[in-house]
Amino acid sequence: MIERALTRQETVSVAAITEEAENVLTLRFDWDQLAAPGQFVMVWLPDVDEVPMSLSYIGGRKGITVKNVGEATKALTSLQVGDRFVVRGPYGRGYHLPQGKILAVGGGTGMASLLPAMERIPADRVDTAIGARTEKELIFEERAKGTSSNVRVSTDDGSKGFHGNAVQLAKEMMDASDHDAVIACGPEKMLYYLHQLCVEKGIPHQMSLERYMKCGAGLCGSCAIDGKRVCREGPVFSGEDLKEMKEFGRQRRDECGGRVRL
């Protein structure tokens, strides 16, 4: 009857650092813990903060890919090889690996969550659309090519690839060939329009959401979206789940639990 076993909390140290783009880098660390594609961990830097991060690598040598947007991520992106931090998890429900031809759509650091799933599907079944604001912010293009038969890139400013956003690119790719499923992770506005598109086209889809998280473990309720816990019932939700959400694409919560319009 116990739905989920206890997660482990462990100190790990940075084994390798890769710069992925401006302000985005991947920290690799050895952590002997089973994880599924799409799961996340709570990452604690003593004296700083503890924040949720998707696992961008899920083997024995795990990885998180961090974009510097504030205090915690700044501290994380300042770590050196050998520095230690504490992880607990993995948490949440990841992607159900879909059958047939897949379109993976990643915006911003969203690719971090998608890649471990893509790497479990034969490359000839995967098309990929990566969106970024500008070429300098583009991440994981090479890694995606290794696990995908067709990788296309969009930039808002046209500095590389398709000139436009990831949803427009995805539409073009859907029109060009048939897809049996879409998996996606990125800014909520992108996901919202992509969800509309998938519903229109009748394509089953799964999307990984983000909400302000405190406990990460399904207790505090700070990550609730329409009563569902992003940290437990999510972060990956199915198209059916998303259809029923009144808050998806419209509203999130601040640290106090107050409503914030998206």
């Binding site: 009857m1 116990i2 739905e3 989920r4 076993a5 206890l6 997660t7 909390q9 100190t11 709570m42 604690w44 003593p46 903060d49 503890e50 924040v51 230690r84 504490v86 607990r88 405190k214 406990c215 990460g216 473990a217 399904g218 207790l219 505090c220 309720g221 700070s222 609730a224 979206i225 329409d226 009563g227 569902k228 816990r229 437990r232 019932e233 808050e247 919560r253 601040d254 640290e255 106090c256 639990g257 107050g258 409503r259």
Partner: protein
């Protein structure tokens, strides 16, 4: 016909399980989800006068036998909470507004706002162990508690529950003071003051240093408290602490709890824990020829 119905200080509940305060109780949507899972009543997150972000992370530690938390009473503030109440009330089960304050006047003001929002009862958080100036710091003193309860009691017409801390040897005195001041029920227990050290990092894990222990680890302490309270009080007692299945719920009921609250178990078992507990109790009543859940309240005292 076997019935799990409970009338708790005039509040009609379809079953004796309630959501405990602070777990999935910050938003209307999450409260509704617990009602769908089968909760017989919902207690909101403890709400204060103004929006509050709570302590910085880490605010939670997972243990094998429970959790340690120092959320620090984050909440959107009473002003914004009306919308959440309105949504929660659609669940069709009673909603209890939990509030915290620093003075009798603040408690009373919050309680009457909760009443205006439609709360079926109000729960006074006199027991949080990790928010300075609030909670347990007030709740260990019988006089302070009596003062708060009295003021709230005079300002609202809904039942008033006092939620107490086990971190004192004066629990019974405090409860009697609350009863004397007009409380309609006692909720016990809140968490035990506790601390976890990360040995690699050589420091407390919680940003607030200490926090409150909950879950199965505290169940035997909670059961003992409710047993003692039942011998000392006339008003109903609501048992809380480590309830995770029908057996642990019945432990509380048998020592005298009219209803039980479930918090930590929602973490790993999800909202269906309420339904599971109720069907387990139903099975027990069937096997033992018991019609009314009230027949089991306090039987361990015989």
């Amino acid at each position: 016909m076997i019935s799990l119905k409970v009338v708790l200080a005039d509040m009609d509940m379809p079953n004796p399980t309630m959501l405990a305060s602070g777990i999935m109780g910050e938003t209307g949507g999450s409260l509704l989800a617990m009602a769908k899972g089968g909760a017989g009543a919902l207690v909101t997150k403890s709400i204060g006068s103004v929006p509050r972000a709570g302590h910085r992370n880490p605010t939670l530690v997972e243990l094998e036998h429970g959790y340690l938390n120092a959320m620090g009473l984050p909440n959107p503030g009473i002003e914004h909470f009306g919308k959440e109440m309105a949504e929660a009330l659609m669940g069709g089960v009673p909603v209890v507004g939990s509030v915290f304050g620093a003075t009798p006047g603040e408690f009373a003001e919050l309680a009457s706002r909760m009443e205006a929002y439609g709360a079926h009862a109000v729960e006074l958080n006199l027991s949080c162990p990790h928010a300075e100036g609030y909670g347990m710091e007030l709740g260990m003193d019988p006089e302070i508690v009596a003062g708060i309860v009295k003021e709230v009691r005079s300002r609202v017409n809904i039942p008033v529950f006092a939620k107490l801390t086990p971190n004192t040897h004066r629990l019974i005195e405090v409860a009697q003071a609350a009863e004397g001041a007009g409380a309609d029920g006692i909720v016990a227990i809140n968490t035990l003051k506790a601390m976890r050290i990360d040995v690699d990092m050589r420091r407390p894990v919680l940003h607030n240093l200490y926090g409150g222990l909950s879950g199965p680890a505290v169940r035997t302490v909670g059961v003992r408290c409710v047993y003692e309270l039942y011998e000392a009080l006339k008003i109903p007692i609501i048992g809380v602490g480590g309830v995770e299945d029908w057996r642990s719920a019945l432990e509380y009921i048998m020592v005298g709890a009219a209803a039980v609250q479930i918090g930590s178990a929602v973490g790993r078992r999800g909202s269906q824990v309420f339904g599971d507990v109720c069907s387990g109790i139903h099975g027990y009543m069937m096997d033992n020829g018991i019609q009314q859940i009230s027949q089991l309240v306090g039987v361990a005292h015989d």
